[in-house]
Symmetry: D2
């Protein structure tokens, strides 16, 4: 299980969110030293929006806890929207190309989860990536393949619909021949303006996802990084949406598809 | 242009061939310091056969010239058959998974060359890899894809025929729509007993390939690593074959396919 | 706390001891995934004796658990005497030069422990390294400095006496001005023929150390790597000695110096 | 011979100076591909001043030409004062701690040159580092040792005098016993406000150093990175000084000490 945080709000230094909190992402990468939880030592990454419409990336294969560059960058980099991710590999190699976040054009993506029987299904999932995007496939994770499939399913028009399209197709693959393979998909997607955070699973329990809002600062995280109040869980099978000049929304995600008896799952407006 | 050497013969320490020659592979990785030639600083690899039927690999992303581990391993590793390779990347990332040699089952492969318009043709070349071998695709080079395609084209029955099958299919792709894309394929293939070294190109001049035999020691190399006599060029469109209890053979490769007017190109028995 | 094993005996593949045991060193590097124990993810190393009187080394900064090269090397390397070490850094950077084992001439050394107030005492401890050995100082750990100090204190004549000399001088430094700084020193030393394993601490409890003998195979380890019987603890303030054509011996170490009331601590012959 | 550039002026993106010029530092790292010059593939580094008084650093051991992170960072990082350096090692290991720039407190330093007989003189040069700064010694290059010695010789009061003090002491060491060891020192020093660039050598010719000024933008570089006019050579045995609200100055450096017959070498005011 990977760990990640996504930030959207007033321009801020990364250190306030990535390295300084008591139970920061860096501490989580090492957490095993203090608790029975897992290590996230299989590389890490930062992604952010700045002067260019396309995001910047810093990804490394060493554990986050021992990377001097990461500490310097978190002290100096500022952004109104950034992602940070520490990786626990689930079978694919530890290369920079397999570290999150992934970037393609203006979009950025990171993921905590897995696709069951990935090595068996990989080829068919990669086939969901349209030809013009296939040169962007530079690693061999399930996460990157899913991202590029979402890119190709109309992300610019409607990122939630594009993600739904890909999840539906993945669900069909996973459930073929009555196999009911599992998938977990707790992921963040951004384009420099809008942030989408999904909490979903197929044939399995969804990985945890929380958010906290303070003024115009929104943080979404795989787990709370401090003991302060204000952390709210994103419900399973929902997507959190944060768009300019809109309140945060929590929308049902993949519920119609899964429970056709409840076609009209209504919007839940988040309480800040 | 990458540089490589392949050894087959009496069990020997790697250092005698990889690190000690005047113009050793390590020196070639750096050669730019002394000549106008290219640097091969985009990673390197060793592959060898020992106590297991499957080869051992040591691949690293840093330049060969500064790797302390490489020097130690070359002083201590011995084998009757080994490959060494220094890489000059042609567009794909510098990861261990993209470094040569590649191993799959008992087979080992390394390559100096390229496929023109790789990012456009990649998907169709990857489609030549049969499903059961696709999980072995761990990088994104043209070289690894070609190797796995050869694996899947009957390498255990007849490695030369399997390579010919793949080259023929590649040729068809390259020449589609009259495009005449270029490809260079100077490559070594081994299974622990037999060694095959190909020198071939499509729509282009073939990269250089030499061999030298001394007693039962055969060395095949992309260029001579010393000024001693005995280096012989492998002719373009030929494959050098070295099998247990056989003399070295230089066989025409892809000549029938390319020059149908000379269907009966005869065997050339190498002069030791 | 680092973890290590040392082997002396019949020539064997490393995999039998390093990668295959249920609770192998590689598993220990990751152990935090399964228990509340620490992660040893700050690099690792292998050292071994082979055809050269000087040892070979393979050291890497990434965690042992994700290193493909390590798995290949353990499947192929054989030796009658080898060390393996996974590192948990205590303040010094994660570089290959700071990974264990360290080699100097014919000698090889690895360590689990620390020197209290290292950054304050470092310069004075480095001053124990004689000038001719100072160029061998390539990292900045306490462990390497102690090894080079032992090298310079007459290791070739009497490695135990040389180690005692250095520990005594260190003890004096640690206890200056009544400060009683702590030090833990659980370490292995070898020259290709003889193996010495120390378990000692100053102003502190000693880190654990075990050994197991089966026929002529001796393994010494910071903790048992399986649930089999035969693991015996090395008592604190002792050194285990294994020399050609001698039975294993457990000798008191630094007891005379520390408890002058028991000057004649007698030898304990180990039960095989 | 390393290659470096230093920038002082209006806040700018690094890409304008580090990655985009025709003969950029990145191209210089690879230059051997196009000319007979050396490769600078033994790591690289960026250092810059931003929101903190202490500089940020990004240093890596891989060659600059293949580092994806470097390209992203140069597209996104902005500063009014930054350093970039590509390294050609002269004997010390390729670790991040041995890559330039080095930082200590508010100061940043990078170097192109060497100290002759470094492994023999190292200990005595390290002895010039005062105790309180010795914990900052994290690598083992001559460059870092000289920087920390300058730090300790009164850098905050007068950086030129501190550098002169250290060079004078180094000169005495190099010339001991009539040995006349060589040293080259082409280096940059900055504190976030002021920039100092030295061109000096002892018993040798000084490495090249150039600068170009356009408006309030000053670039100092080991060689011009484009064919545009405006590049001026810094004379040997001079220091270029660029301070807020002052014109650039070129001051004699180490001339009094070396040529006592010309004690009154006068200031040269640079022509912009």
């Amino acid at each position: 299980m990977c760990r990640w945080i996504a930030y959207r709000g007033e321009t801020t230094l990364f250190e306030n969110y990535v390295t300084e909190p008591v139970h920061s992402l860096i501490t989580q990468s090492l957490r095993a030293r203090e608790s029975a939880g897992p290590t996230n030592g299989d590389g890490f990454g930062l992604g952010w929006y700045g002067v260019h419409p396309e995001p910047g990336l810093y990804r490394e294969t060493r554990p986050a806890w021992s990377d001097e560059n990461l500490r310097y960058l978190c002290r100096h980099l500022q952004s109104h929207m950034f992602f940070a991710h520490v990786r626990a590999a689930t079978g694919t190699p530890v290369t920079r190309q397999n570290c999150h976040p992934f970037a393609c054009g203006r979009w950025m993506f990171m993921h905590n989860g897995f696709v069951g029987s990935w090595s068996r299904l990989r080829r068919r999932i990669e086939a969901m990536i349209p030809d013009p995007l296939y040169p962007s496939r530079s690693g061999n994770t399930d996460s990157e393949a899913i991202f590029l499939a979402i890119m190709g399913a109309g992300i610019d028009e409607d990122p939630i619909a594009a993600t739904r399209t890909v999840m539906t197709r993945l669900g069909a693959l996973l459930n073929e021949n009555g196999l009911r393979e599992r998938m977990r998909f707790t992921a963040a997607l951004a384009n420099g303006h809008d942030l989408y955070a999904f909490r979903f699973a197929e044939n399995d329990a969804a990985n945890s996802l929380y958010y906290r809002q303070a003024g115009d600062r929104l943080i979404v995280a795989s787990e709370p990084y401090d003991g302060e109040p204000g952390w709210t869980e994103v419900p399973a099978n929902h997507v959190l949406v944060s768009r300019s000049a809109h309140q945060i929304e929590l929308l049902p995600f993949m519920q119609d598809e899964r429970k056709s008896e409840h076609p009209g799952a209504q919007r839940v407006v988040a309480r800040a």
